[in-house]
């Protein structure tokens, strides 16, 4: 099996047994851009309704907000592509926020309200996130329980534990640490808000991992056909667990950015983020049943969802009661434009 020149003569000219593929039809390429076009259309409408939409400060606001669920959605993309789902991310974010604040408040006594305390708080968030992900992954793969069930269960558990820690009220970050920590959300680097930078980094890294590493390849293979992956000697269990851990880390990261924003955790922190994150992934063109997907689509999806809300805030034409209806309508509309792909 080594000869550089193929031992078989080239096929006779007449055969053409398997003709080369025709170029991918233009329309289907266009459809893949569906969510992006949707976002651009929405932006155009928004600008027409209120030119303030296009100001740097407004766009910065929009992107910063998209960062939280966006970062989570990047992790969720991996989970969904591998054929899984995670309903617990919102609750997990709340729990992480609560524990992280408690840890930082406690550490302030010994370490002061400085960088060390904040760093340890951040570490707590990441460790907690990955532990939760590990638990999900192990229960789903080795425990052989549907991901929907496992994470529906932990959705309840995490939020309840937070409510318990907060005794029904709020867990608030000490003022001094809060001030030291606040640049993580409110600060900018070269004029760009930190959360946007982190979001961009996570998205780029996510795209790279998904499309250019073995791990990403295996995630797609598993989601496409678990049996085939197993036959290709891929460690299906390990890879699947890793997707949940990855998502857990993303949740931890998002929480790290989120805590300085509001400086507290309450029983309603992160409520329904799971829906937003999953919606961003699906709007972005990843199929719910897994197998294939794209990170940039997810990013666009996350931004799109936030933009709808922003546009609604910028204008006054719709009854306040109907906001959710507009959001729903736009979501369906955008999906309609990318539908021919499937």
């Amino acid at each position: 099996m080594s000869t550089p020149n193929p031992p078989v003569p080239p096929p006779p000219a007449a055969s053409g047994a398997v003709p080369p593929a025709p170029p991918r039809p233009f329309l289907s390429r266009l459809a893949a851009l569906g969510p992006l076009l949707g976002l651009l259309a929405l932006a155009a409408v928004a600008t027409a309704l209120n030119p303030e939409f296009l100001t740097v400060s407004n766009l910065a606001n929009v992107l910063t907000r998209a960062a939280f669920t966006g970062i989570i959605a990047v992790g969720m993309t991996f989970v969904i592509i591998s054929g899984g789902i995670d309903l617990s991310v919102g609750s997990l974010a709340a729990l992480i926020a609560g524990v992280m604040i408690l840890v930082m408040n406690a550490l302030t006594a010994s370490l002061g309200a400085g960088a060390a305390t904040i760093a340890l708080g951040m570490l707590t968030a990441l460790v907690l996130g990955s532990l939760a992900g590990l638990f999900h992954g192990v229960t789903i793969t080795l425990g052989r329980i549907e991901p929907f069930i496992v994470t529906l269960g932990t959705l309840g558990i995490y939020r309840a534990v937070l409510t318990y820690l907060a005794q029904g009220g709020a867990i608030s970050l000490g003022l001094e640490v809060g001030d030291r920590y606040s640049p993580v959300y409110y600060g900018t680097l070269l004029g760009v808000p930190i959360p946007i930078l982190v979001f961009a980094a996570v998205a780029l890294l996510g795209g790279l991992v998904l499309n250019r590493t073995r791990y990403g390849r295996y995630v797609q293979a598993i989601g496409s056909n678990e049996q085939v992956a197993r036959y290709a000697a891929i460690n299906v269990t390990g890879i699947k667990i890793a997707t949940y851990v990855l998502l857990g880390v993303c949740v931890g990261l998002a929480t790290i950015l989120y805590v300085p924003r509001l400086g507290s955790a309450t029983p309603s922190t992160g409520l329904l983020w799971e829906l937003d994150a999953i919606a961003a992934v699906i709007i972005g063109g990843t199929a719910l049943k897994g197998g294939s997907g794209r990170i940039w689509g997810t990013v666009v999806g996350a931004i799109l969802l936030v933009t709808i809300e922003n546009v609604l805030n910028l204008t006054n034409i719709i009854s306040v009661y109907l906001n959710a209806a507009v959001t729903g309508f736009v979501i369906i509309l955008v999906a309609f434009f990318q539908r021919s792909r499937r």
């Binding site: 407004n58 009220g169 709020a170 809060g178 509001l262 309603s268 329904l272 910028l314």
Partner: protein, 295 residues
């Protein structure tokens, strides 16, 4: 005179009381804009704290508001975002659910949550009298004001050692959940003398559950906030609903009016305006009855 843009940010109408808030805010907007042609009022509703934080950011960045009247979804999470606006020169009036740091606001208009619990508790203590009785409690959703109310209620009821609070569970300010919790209370406790539903929406569910079980041991139910149907029952002398405790959603209109007036006239606004929670009885019920409000 320069145009004044006032942002009003309130919770979405997710139950009766907040529906009242939305209604009164929109009514006040119409009235105030009519009265002051130079004033523009933008009313926004938010379904959770996060969305509300986004919303006030947008009100500032895009609508360039001069003043903000806000009824925060939750206290702690909105403190920082509101403080941020105030630091940028926006005049801030906070309504009802206070912020954790009063420095983040210019003025505060509120119902009295402690009084809300206390007034109800006092009624229980007095009405159940010497022989006392068994009481069950339905709480709202886990929030600071709910904690305040329950604490005040418990403190007031404790004055009557014969009263036993059997249990207190969340009904989430929701009719349905209250119905179910009450059903289970009725199964669990063979003798209940009175129910503190702590909210009129929840009282609706409680009444249905009692009616279904056909239980006669419950002497009365106290809700709260002043929903028109409940006020009507008090007015009509319904035995099960002898009283109500006010917590009027019209406080949003008061806050808006006070804010606009102070902006337009330049006169300072009072730092704190507390709208008391009072006991509604058959005698005074008429003055709390607004048949046209949705609440």
């Amino acid at each position: 005179q320069a145009k004044q843009v006032i942002g009003v940010s309130i919770p979405a109408a997710d139950h009766g009381w907040t529906a009242g808030i939305v209604y009164h805010a929109n009514e006040a907007k119409k009235a105030l804009e009519q009265k002051y042609p130079n004033v523009q009022i933008i009313v926004k509703t938010a379904k959770d704290s996060n969305e509300q934080a986004n919303q006030i950011q947008d009100l500032y960045t895009v609508n360039k508001i001069n003043a903000l009247v806000i009824l925060p979804q939750e206290s702690a999470p909105l403190t920082r975002p509101v403080a941020d606006l105030k630091s940028k020169g926006v005049f801030v009036t906070v309504v009802d659910r206070g912020l954790t740091d009063p420095k983040a606001q210019d003025a505060y208009v509120a119902g009295d949550n402690t009084a809300f619990g206390r007034v109800a508790g006092q009624y229980f203590a007095q009405r159940l009298g010497a022989q006392g009785g068994n009481v069950v409690v339905l709480r709202g959703i886990p929030t600071v004001i709910d904690n305040q109310r329950v604490a005040a209620f418990n403190a007031a009821v404790a004055k009557n050692p014969k009263i036993k609070v059997l249990d207190a569970r969340y009904g989430n300010w929701n009719r349905d959940d209250a119905f179910k919790v009450m059903q289970d209370y009725l199964t669990r406790f063979p003798k209940i003398d009175a129910v503190w539903a702590s909210d009129d929406d929840m009282a609706v569910g409680v009444l249905r559950a009692i009616q279904q079980a056909g239980r006669k041991d419950i002497k009365f139910v106290v809700g709260g906030a002043g929903m028109k149907d409940m006020i009507k029952k008090v007015m009509d002398g319904d035995a099960l609903i002898p009283v109500d405790v006010t917590y009027p959603p019209s406080m949003i209109a008061d806050a808006m009016r006070l804010t606009v007036e102070s902006r337009v006239t330049g006169k300072p606004m009072k730092a704190t305006t507390i709208i008391p929670s009072v006991l509604v009885t058959k005698a005074n019920a008429k003055q709390f009855y607004y048949p046209n409000s949705p609440f």
